[in-house]
């Protein structure tokens, strides 16, 4: 009896807490996350230009139209390309720099700041800056090219090179962020383990290979997660640089959604793209969590 009596106030206290703190969060989450997703799913069944209420129900036709559009294939390929470059180029680069700069030496802090700087810059500003850098007439790149007496290529104006140009900007902009993640993790490492390895006669590369990197696995997994999700959502860098062009060669899924859905007043079609993107993201997030981030 006494035990029960003692438990009751605790439970009702918990209940009050739930009643007090859950509704605002739940409300915000439903209004701004759940509801729009459901709405998008609903709209994707209509041929609708966004004015008034949707009336013309066409079932799954919008999804068929999306998959039939050549630009969607390109956008999907580009997103995969961005993910690949993020994981295979950006991540190792960030990790290497982090290992170098986690040491205490003169200038380490300044270098860290310098490498982190691009990440702070707004995406649109970055895009505009690089559209000047890449400009084949007046750009920085053109000036460098001219020193060697060559005619500069218009990187952003050719379907063959536009994506390459964007990938360079992506790596430049985001490697600093991942580097900082790794530096933070490195500083939290147990120094004893590294010292123990040294005493046991491990070389520097052996220490990195067998001690430091395994200890960083949780952070690497987190960084990879950010890289993939960020890659899937890439939009604001593409718009000022190429707007997805030329000939849709640098379209990403989100810029595809914007160009083909929003600006063409095809809300149903755009919603279908949104739903596809959502399914891809959710599938990825859950499988990744299940396979790689089980322990965290």
């Amino acid at each position: 009896m006494t035990a029960l009596a003692a438990r009751r106030p605790l439970q009702s206290g918990k209940l009050t807490a739930i009643l007090l703190f859950l509704p605002p969060a739940l409300l915000l989450f439903s209004i701004f996350v759940v509801l729009p997703i459901l709405e998008a799913a609903w709209y994707s069944g209509f041929n609708w230009n966004g004015f008034g209420t949707p009336k013309n129900w066409i079932g799954l036709d919008n999804y068929r139209f999306v998959f039939e559009t050549r630009a969607f294939g390109l956008a999907f390929r580009n997103n995969m390309l961005i993910i690949a470059v993020s994981l295979l180029v950006q991540l190792p680069l960030a990790l290497t720099l982090a290992i170098l700069l986690a040491e205490r030496f003169r200038g380490a802090v300044v270098l860290r700041m310098l490498f982190f700087m691009p990440y702070i810059l707004a995406e649109i500003a970055t895009g505009l800056i690089f559209s000047f850098v890449y400009d084949g007439e007046y750009g920085l790149l053109a000036a460098i090219w001219r020193i060697f007496g060559a005619e500069a290529p218009h990187l952003l104006a050719s379907p063959q090179t536009s994506m390459l140009a964007i990938l360079i900007v992506i790596v430049w902009k985001y490697f600093g962020f991942h580097m900082m993640l790794f530096i933070a993790a490195l500083q939290g490492l147990d120094r004893n383990l590294i010292e123990a390895a040294r005493i046991d006669g491990a070389s520097r590369s052996q220490t990195i290979r067998y001690v430091i990197i395994p200890l960083l696995y949780p952070t690497i997994r987190l960084s990879a997660f950010f890289a993939v999700v960020g890659s899937l959502q890439l939009f604001d860098l593409v718009m000022p640089l190429t707007r997805g062009g030329p000939a849709d060669s640098s379209q990403t899924m989100v810029s595809f959604l914007y160009t083909f859905g929003v600006t063409r007043m095809r809300v149903g079609f755009g919603s279908a793209v949104g739903v596809i993107l959502f399914v891809i993201c959710v599938t990825f997030a859950f499988t990744y969590k299940r396979w790689f981030m089980r322990d965290e």
């Binding site: 379907p159 000939a247 063409r264």
Partner: protein, 419 residues
Amino acid sequence: MGMLKKAALAAVGLLLTAGSVTAQTTLKWLHIEVNPNQVKIWEEVARDFEAKNPGTKIEMQFLENEAYKAKLPTILQSKDRPHIIYSWAGGVLRAQVEAGVVEDLTPAMQGYKDNLAPAAVTAFTVDGKIYGVPHAQSQVGFMVNKELMAKGGVDPSKVKTWDDLLDAVKKLKAAGITPIVVGGADKWPLHFFWTNLAVRLGGKPGFDAALKGENGGFAGETFLKSGELFKQLVDLQPFQTGFLGFKNPQAVGSFGDGKAAMILAISSFYHSQKALSADKKGISDDNIAWFDFPTVPGGKGDPSDTLGGINGWLVTKGAPKEAAAFVKHFVSPEVQKRLAAGNFLVPTYKGADEGLASPFMRNIAQNLAKSKYHQNFYDQDLGPNVGRVVNDATTELAGGSMTPQQAAKSIQDAYKQGN
């Protein structure tokens, strides 16, 4: 008592003035004009209207051309939407009318509309109702730099046929001059080539038949041939290096800087090439020339047919009644003459074109007056979706990633799918 009466009167007076203050209406006017010299005049027109109509305030808002087109559908559905908006008429206007977001101006235009060029009013008429007040017309054709043409050994007044144009391009290239500059990143400057060819090849009957889906629609012979002829030009590589990365203002500015011999221009570029050039002066009047889009062998269109724009103002649903009054004030003989005197536009108000100061613009006005078939820009006329597909397809033609057949087919597919 006297004191009280005075106080009461004062209070009433205060209330009245307060009432008139709250009766203040603000008209939000959204435009896309980038030329500061023209915007200055527009501002003065707005201030003038305010002075004549106490209690009305006009707030000018600006969006860049491409951004405007992209944002408009969203803007129009907001409660805070602007009252007066820019329009190119055509299919985009039709979509807006069908959505019920623009005001029917037929009553307001009663009597007044007879003062305007009939073709311009017709462009803003949807199902017998007038939805906009046109203020400017334009023609698409080649604007050329005489000096560079002479260097390449080309006489612009002799370029009459498509083959003449191809010859001119070859000569200019041989002389090391960039023949044509174009803002390929914006896509619509490239669609002018293809659509102008279609105007020459098919004339009005060709376009009307395509709209009805006859003769294979937009995948039919006329449009296939347009693509093939356009490809003849593209194969000569007539454009500046990196043309797919140039936005239109950059391209027009580049022409103003004297970097290319020709630009397939809207007649209003006559002015913007000055404003957008590096020295803000651009190509001088005696160095600039114009020739109409060349004719093609066997074309069914009349050489006097024109491709161009008809621009005007729409009043959005629920706007204060002063909005229509302001738009009419904007398209009044005084304002139209003033803008014509500055050579900013070819006016729509009858007789105002006499005010055009430059021979260049007078020539355009004459062309438009002679034209029996004035085709509105395809990307506006065919509606927001099909129009953009035309832009995509023609840009891909220019970039070499689509064949004329694929381009025509993609447009026809989009047209069949509808908006």
